[in-house]
Symmetry: C2
Subunit: 99 residues, 2 copies
């Protein structure tokens, strides 16, 4: 089985493009730092739907243990320390991908 982890962010009022670029720069370094990441994608909402969140992160991991390694990895925690103060809202799900 593979676990797909999804996190959707809504930025707080006043968050700047420079701050979002800093988040993306941090995320871009994670696949090389965390070998448990089988696939990693993220990006800003395209504006195709009303009421959408602003940004998505999708991480595919082999199992629960790999998810926990990713979640607790110091490089990931460092990115979260940048992201968390910028959030108005976060929505997340982890589900099992069909094999």
């Amino acid at each position: 089985m593979t676990i797909r982890h999804i996190a959707l962010f809504r930025w707080a009022q006043g968050v700047t493009p420079e701050q979002i670029a800093s988040v993306e720069e941090g995320l871009s370094r994670l696949p090389a730092a965390i070998p448990q990441l089988l696939s990693y994608s993220y990006g800003a909402d395209l504006g195709l739907g009303a009421g959408n969140h602003d940004f998505a992160v999708v991480a595919d991991l082999a199992d629960d243990e790999a998810f926990r390694v990713y979640r607790d990895h110091p490089e990931h925690q460092a990115v979260l320390a940048v992201v968390t103060p910028l959030l108005a809202d976060r929505a997340a799900v982890q589900f099992t991908l069909p094999s």
Copy 2:
């Protein structure tokens, strides 16, 4: 480019496993009905994180036009007619996958 569409659902109080199974049954028929779906995955939250939503759908589509075909397709609209009355909350993002 590929567009990745994500929708996260939080079920309303009182939604039953049978109703969720009906949603999954409807979703399972969409890849055969909508050739624009390059990849389609969905599933219930695994309970690994506090405060998570309950269910995720991830659809990969070639471009904006393919996303709109999926969004407006009668078979997809029929599933939405089942899903929407069951929702307490929905969060969504469409973003561009790296090529």
